[in-house]
Symmetry: C2
């Protein structure tokens, strides 16, 4: 990225020399990102400022462009907060939104999806994998349903990218959201895959960059970083997910066997290799988090991507968890630099934190009285 900050800061849309350098870098990144998801053509990739914008372009852009075909859109109950809020916006614009429930493991219930299909359904938006509990969705089964009824299919692949193989052609996907920072690239870059022939309206209007679908001078440095991150992750795909999976299973097995009243949220096997999501009876996730923070460990509870609220995660509630169960949950994600030693250190600390918190919890006392 560095040269694009320091030297080659041309505008890819202008005629003069630095512009040509920027333009070539932009198109190289586009090819890399296309290859990462096996897009048929590089021009099917539209660069945006990030995943949230891509989701807006996909849902609002597609719905507004195709509203004459119908005004019904289907999402799942456990989509990312941005999809839920975009759906609310579409409702205000006269669209009807149906939400498909998930089962206790977080899998979209296909028979419920089937029931919600209507004559005027124009779009289904389902995430590739869940950003909180890591459950992976049956993308091909959903796209078969969509294709059978001539409905466009959008996939938010932000949580899944780099962790499970993504193939827009084999997956039968029409629109797919990617972010750069979720594959260790810089922030400030994302992409929307738009299958050739699928039409969307732009949501940011201006000088006509990105085939008129996303105006604004391109943030070349971030896009170059995104392309590079895609190349690096492709090289690592043969080994990294299975390395993470082993560590994850080691972590899960240890926690479930050494901490009483600890449970795994999400799917036991169809889950992201970097995701472990627990709940512990009688305590608050926030207290665990604050305690771990003083010990130097960063984990999540609630939903990291929305603003600083202490509301129970809509995803966990959709699984059928009680509010207190959702609040007692803890998400642990592993990364490229996570080692077995770090997991061992975490496993040293966690049981003590849990049992100390339980000894202070009024819920524990109530349970003890019951027993």
């Amino acid at each position: 990225m560095k040269p694009y900050f320091l030297e080659d800061f041309g505008n890819p849309s202008s005629l003069h020399e630095p512009g040509d350098v920027a333009s070539r870098a932009l198109e190289k990144a586009r090819r890399d990102v296309a290859r990462f998801i096996n897009a048929g053509e590089a021009k099917e990739i539209i660069f945006t400022s990030g995943a949230t914008e891509s989701n807006n372009l996909a849902l609002i852009g597609y719905a507004m462009r195709n509203r004459k075909k119908g005004r019904h859109v289907i999402i799942s109950e456990i989509e990312h907060i941005s999809i839920h809020n975009i759906a609310k916006y579409l409702q205000k614009q006269g669209f009807e939104i149906s939400k498909v429930p998930v089962d206790y493991t977080g899998k979209v219930r296909l028979e419920k999806l089937q029931e919600r299909l209507r004559e005027d359904t124009i779009l289904i938006s389902i995430q590739h994998a869940n950003n909180e509990i890591g459950t992976i969705q049956p993308i091909r089964e959903i796209s078969n349903m969509a294709q059978e009824h001539g409905i466009a299919f959008h996939v938010d692949a932000v949580a899944a990218e780099g962790l499970v193989p993504i193939d827009v052609q084999a997956g039968g996907i029409d629109l797919l959201t990617l972010s750069s920072n979720d594959i260790y690239g810089p922030r400030g870059a994302g992409a929307l895959y738009i299958k050739q022939g699928v039409r969307v309206n732009p949501i940011i209007i201006g000088g006509g960059q990105e085939r008129g679908l996303r105006s604004g001078t391109e943030d070349i440095a971030s896009i170059v970083g995104f392309g590079k991150a895609a190349r690096v992750i492709m090289e690592r795909m043969p080994e990294e997910p299975s390395r993470l999976e082993k560590l994850r299973d080691y972590l899960i097995d240890n926690i479930l066997s050494h901490i009483p009243k600890a449970y795994l949220n999400g799917h036991p096997t169809d889950r992201l290799p970097n995701n472990a999501h627990f709940r512990f009876d009688w305590i608050e996730g926030e207290s665990i988090l604050v305690n771990l923070k003083t010990l130097g460990v960063a984990v999540s509870t609630g939903s990291a991507c929305s603003s600083k609220t202490l509301q129970a995660s809509h995803t966990l509630i959709s699984l059928g968890l009680l509010h207190e169960e959702a609040h007692g949950s803890l998400e642990v994600t592993l990364g490229r630099w996570t080692t077995r030693e770090e997991i061992d250190a975490f496993l040293e600390i966690l049981p003590g934190v849990i049992s100390r918190l339980r000894s202070l919890s009024p819920l524990t006392k109530m349970e003890e009285l019951k027993e």
Copy 2:
């Protein structure tokens, strides 16, 4: 910016430790940008991905939020292409757009603006200075008119920022667009100043970042770079514009006195200190550009911010220039690193390029036959 790429990549909306560091950096940048334009409060600054997005948020966001008050919006004929295209979009949404003409120097004709004010006018959008010809607009006179009629006033300050003092309070400005890269900051960051009490709808919907007005995980590195660029430019404001102005006048005087049939486009005095914009009879700006490019000089013709078209600039046509005059125009902008020596080198090269091109031009021959 570097630490925010390499270390502190927390999410400002999440509860864990790196998030706090990111959050502090974000708010520091917000204060710096607020100070740069003398905003009353830091929270009046909303960070976006860049100027085009800020213009979208200002015009679409304000118009959609306030459409019950009226559906008439006024812009000038020489606004940036993004404003023109956003205006077209608003027309499709049922708004009426009036365009105020400019005089031969590029100044908005205030009496024409007055004539266009209506009962249902809700918004006036005029740039602080023009991005092509550098003409500076009478911002305070326009805001007086707007305030008298209870109309919101948006200013696209992208071309002016860092070159003329910007004061949203003294200027009576309700909404103001800034970009980072136009003050030597990184791309991928921009801001919209939204005066307290002014209401806009978001155009990117999601997790509720930026007070719900711009969702998406913040691009901390770029925003930190933007804040730093604002601080640096504030330090330089006492000297840099007058340094540029001297160089610009030296360049203009030399070209007008040494090249026959050369003219200055734009205003003779109320122009950006870094902007010189010429036209040369009988030749194409593109040919000058291509010739200069082979000699290592980057200049602009047409409009650098829109896509690679060879259409005549709408700004130059609005001044009253003929198409061939617009095509014979050349924009020279000076920057922080432009030296007197470079201008001398340019002045060495340019007359030769112009006279060589003229000797090849069919227009020259036609003119010679006339004489």
